[in-house]
Amino acid sequence: MPLEILGPMVVLGIGGIALLMHFVGLSKPFQLTGEHSRTAWVREVPDDVPTQILIANNQENALLKLASGKLGLVHVMGADTTARYLTGATWHSSNSALTIHLPDFGAPKFTIPLSPQEQANWTALKDAAS
């Protein structure tokens, strides 16, 4: 197929499908509860169960203290979730968000909107785990 036909068709097709999905409400992120956070963690790391869970107010992130004593994060990815140990992570706080950098090319950074009070709670759990 000539590129001058294929190119616009691909661009319009991708753009059109994405816009359609957005406008019918398929961009709404998943909302975590405590049970969701536990299930999402165990789904990826079944051998290290959560013992304590802190869910961010936006319900898209949860900090977990695990049976091993390590810290973990469950993060909403669209309609789904991913889970990561926070071993080797660096934390950067601002007034409205916590940014966690991981040495992981497939999950390099999580920016988590957190109030100062929530940040204090997350830091306390982090300190308790370390």
């Binding site: 197929m1 294929l6 068709m9 691909v10 097709g13 991708i14 499908i17 994405a18 359609l20 999905m21 957005h22 019918v24 398929l26 961009s27 789904r43 990826e44 079944p46 051998d47 993060h75 990815m77 669209g78 309609a79 789904d80 979730t81 991913t82 889970a83 990561r84 991981l102 992981d104 090319f105 497939g106 999950a107 390099p108 999580f110």
Partner: protein, 314 residues
């Protein structure tokens, strides 16, 4: 004088049909099954990433396709054999190329160097027609074109072999759906179907390293890698450890970066560096990660009642 052949690039001609079928599946899910999710799920960023990966794969093919084509053409000039392009030869080539696909795909899951290219196809946590288009950008670097060499040396024209490969990929598009449950038994027993391929995309311990087929599921049955889809163990799609990004560049290259980081760690032997590149995914020199065999073993330790059932036979 050898046969001169040219065939259309079927994957690009199929693009309008891909778009139309995605819209059809999306409409069907929205109108009939949105609440239950029984016919599949769509999410904007996931689908957008899949579609961009598909477009990138086409661009990669345009930019790097000359390497594979040049290699196959070189072999074509070496071989004294020329089977021509009769209908029987085309059908035979299609079947043998599907066998070639089975082994390339199996290597793609069992050799980390090849997995680094293929992993992005499994990185969506959804299973819909856009997932079919989440294709590799780095297939050329796996050097799996070598597996096509026997076909050329047997006398199948490079253009015919590439045409059959394209047809194989086009066939596999429609099986990436949850909207079709099961097809008639005779079809399920011979052909790769949505049910068989859902198993292949499952990250459940039961379904790891199963159903590598492209078109004919008989290869899995022949080589012992077939696992049926069980209603009591619904496939959970995605990777054993799912990605934390929708960035297509990270999706395309994350496993290559992982290989580089692992193989260049300080204090490893050369054997360990080699294994980080070519052992099954999940290998680690210190046992800190799990291969699919270890994941299955740990599952059976937690669920001994599953021992001996499909996917846990050995």
């Amino acid at each position: 004088m050898k046969t001169e052949l040219s065939y259309p690039d079927v994957t690009t001609y199929a693009v309008p049909f891909f778009i139309a079928l995605i819209l059809l599946e999306l409409g069907y899910i929205l109108l009939k099954h949105r609440r239950s999710g029984a016919a599949g799920r769509y999410e904007t960023r996931d689908a957008l990433t899949s579609l961009i990966m598909g477009a990138g794969s086409v661009i990669s093919g345009i930019l790097l396709g000359f390497i594979t084509f040049g290699f196959l053409t070189f072999l074509w000039f070496l071989t004294p054999l020329d089977l021509g392009a009769s209908l029987g030869v085309i059908i035979l080539c299609f079947v043998l190329d599907d066998l070639r696909y089975y082994w390339v795909h199996r290597f793609g899951h069992r050799v980390r160097w090849v997995w680094a290219s293929h992993v992005n196809h499994h990185s969506s946590q959804h299973y819909n027609l856009t997932t079919a288009l989440r294709q590799t950008w780095t297939g050329t670097f796996t050097f799996m074109m070598i597996v096509r060499a026997p076909l050329i040396l047997l006398g199948f024209h490079p253009a015919l072999v590439l045409f059959c490969g394209g047809m194989n990929l086009v066939y596999q598009f429609w099986i990436h759906t949850e909207a079709i449950t099961r097809l008639p038994r005779w079809f399920e027993s011979v052909m790769n179907t949505p049910s068989h391929h859902r198993v292949h995309h499952g990250r459940n311990a039961r379904y790891l390293d199963a159903n590598y087929a492209g078109v004919f599921i008989v290869w899995d049955k022949l080589f012992g890698t077939f696992v049926p889809e069980l209603d009591e163990d619904k496939p959970d799609y995605g990777l054993v450890q799912n990605l934390g990004t929708f960035n297509p560049l990270r999706v395309a290259f994350h496993e290559w970066v992982g290989i580089f980081k692992d193989a260049t760690q300080r204090g490893l032997t050369w054997r360990e560096r080699f294994l980080y590149c070519f052992a099954p995914p999940g290998y680690s020199h210190d046992g800190s990660r799990d291969t699919s065999a270890a994941i299955k073993a740990k599952h059976l330790a937690r669920h001994p009642e599953d021992a001996g059932t499909a996917g846990f036979e050995s």
